[in-house]
Symmetry: C2
Subunit: 350 residues, 2 copies
DNA sequence: TGGAGGGCGGAGAGCGCTCTCCCTTTGTGC
DNA sequence: GCACAAAGGGAGAGCGCTCTCCGCCCTCCA
């Protein structure tokens, strides 16, 4: 209509919509944000104008005045003054776990229109920057995947009292929200299953015991076995890696060749353990039954496929997002924890 | 100094810094953005003021005036009117590939202070929204992981002429930048290796041949084998999945039991193929040599570990980010392709 | 010594939006 | 019929930043 026939040059603004609709900017804003009552007739006129102009709100402008960005960060943190070229983060990213978390978080964020920004916090500086970012409103809150028990980020976040949710219980008690899986229950599932199979000589390959997940899975398993009347369960630390699982299984077979049932605290380690068992000519599950933990894609890729304790990663990640959004919207201002029940997935290995 | 002693209430702005430094807002802005020459002495004074106030620029305000957001989106796209509850995306996210791309992209983005937003484009609407987002300046550009040959997003992006870079050559020729691996070279690496081992009966398990990666790996392999004097190479479609690899290997063994060398177009399929070979009592590599493609974590998790054609995913992802940033900064305004050379990684399977 | 020119800092106008205030209109009770 | 309330819409002030203009001052040359 006007002489402004240069397409893709200037984007429609609220002002343009207002002009087309014949109302004020304020009214359009009210309609779009569903604030206060607007005459239903005007309501329709405004929406029509929005679609004819092809208007989309400008995030930056909105953020500037509301002080909210409509985006949260997924922080992968492992700050413990690790060398910059340490391949640890690289290894983490190639673990399916990361992708599953992303998928879960996005499933909640997408409907609400909130953006997900990815951030790596590899050292103390980066952690400080994450905290600064959320305090300064560059993001509205953070969802944290903390990879290391001595990671300083959870503490910083708790102290700053910013909206944040952790995946997994923090290594030390602190006022911060988190989601987790009921590890003891999961370990018990594994123990009871091995006992029910009639395993007489049960052992375990644990994760790093300085991590909550590692310690809990080990203690939970021992406790459950104790309830079954088994006073002692040999354990070997596999450090949550494939190679660690192999080494642990080698030692286990050398020191306890009578073993006929193993609870391995992660599927990735279990995959390594299975390879070693095969090399030693042990049949799984007939000679040795193996139960894993996580139900990651490694469980399906293993031969035989792993019987494992399922950790509902996607659901847990989705809950993280929900908790965070609630906190940001002030619908909840207390720290909360949500614990998920694990499930025993029966496959071929036990 | 002032009565504004409420901490964590109001964040320092340019104005505050200017006041502390005793200069104007404009000068502080110039110093921070390194624009024009500013007296070196003032320069220092301003930076001192910045650190005493703890000032950090407000992204939203900056975006509003510059029209740039300082963030790009990583779009995972597979729009082909797939059902919403299709588990395909979920499977994709649990593939290590995704995480490796993220890691590569972030390695470039982090130093330049650009944020990475994650986006899923699961249907046509979502694709349109992605294009709209970048046209409307919600993000400055996109890096695309397109999972399906009939995905409409690349075409939309090319038509809109917005800053975008694809991972992998588009299924149909179009003016859009991309990075890729020299597939033919990679397939030749595999073919030559199998020939050098003395394999007499070589076959291949291909990926989906309607995807460029699938077709190229198959044709490249056949061409290279032809150069070795082998006129015909049996091929079986494994669809790029673990199970597909298993099924393809079953058929291959049934129809060509004499096979002593296989090129499998992805490590994930190769892992499935290895399991089948083991079940059939075939020794790898003595009875059958297996060469994979990708060098993903599956290659290391396989038993025996896979000899495979390495696709430098992290490097390619990093290059995507570099190309995109160059395009956004107007340093490059033509579409560009960068092709990476694959490398044969020798392990136990061939 | 006067004028031109360049280097450098300040003033101020917005970017597009939300939100508070205020005004108009309409409805309601006495 | 009047006072008051309530509801709906408009005007306009910013949010924090960049960037264009403008003016000052210092240098250099004629």
């Amino acid at each position: 209509m006007t002489s402004d026939q240069t397409p893709a040059q200037r984007l429609p603004t609220l002002e343009d919509v207002a002009q087309v609709a014949g109302v004020s900017r304020a009214t359009v804003s009210r309609v779009i944000n569903n604030i206060r009552n607007v005459d239903p007739q005007l309501h329709k006129i405004v929406w029509d104008a929005v679609s004819t102009t092809g208007y989309v709100p400008n995030r930056a402008a909105r953020s500037l005045v509301t002080g909210r960005t409509g985006s949260i960060a997924l922080v992968v943190s492992e700050a413990e003054n690790r060398a910059a070229d340490d391949p640890f983060l690289g290894r983490f990213f190639s673990d399916p776990f990361f992708g599953r978390v992303v998928g879960g978080v996005l499933s909640v964020l997408r409907p609400s229109g909130v953006h997900l920004a990815l951030t790596l916090a590899g050292d103390e500086d980066a952690c400080a920057k994450v905290v600064a970012d959320v305090r300064q409103g560059q993001v509205d809150g953070v969802v944290v995947l903390s990879l290391h028990p001595h990671d300083t980020l959870p503490r910083l976040l708790a102290d700053a009292a910013v909206p944040a949710v952790l995946y997994g219980r923090p290594a030390a008690p602190m006022p911060i929200s988190y989601v987790d899986v009921a590890t003891y229950t999961g370990a018990k599932l594994a123990a009871d299953h091995l006992a029910a199979r009639g395993c007489q000589h049960v052992a375990t390959i644990s994760g790093s015991v300085d991590m909550p997940a590692g310690a809990d899975r080990l203690h939970g398993f021992r406790e459950a076995m104790a309830k079954q009347g088994v006073a002692y369960v040999p354990s070997y630390d596999g450090g949550f890696t494939h190679e660690g699982g192999e080494r642990a299984m080698e030692r286990l077979l050398a020191e306890h060749p009578e073993t006929d049932g193993v609870f391995v605290a992660s599927d990735v380690m279990a995959q390594g353990a299975l390879a070693v068992l095969r090399d030693h000519g042990k049949s799984v599950p007939d000679d040795v039954a193996v139960v894993g933990f996580d139900d990651s894609s490694a469980a399906l890729a293993s031969r035989p496929q792993l019987t494992t304790v399922r950790q509902p990663v996607e659901d847990m990640a989705a809950e993280m997002a929900r908790l965070l959004l609630a906190r940001i919207d002030q619908r909840a201002n207390r720290t909360t924890s949500v614990i998920f029940d694990p499930e025993l997935i029966l496959r071929a290995s036990a």
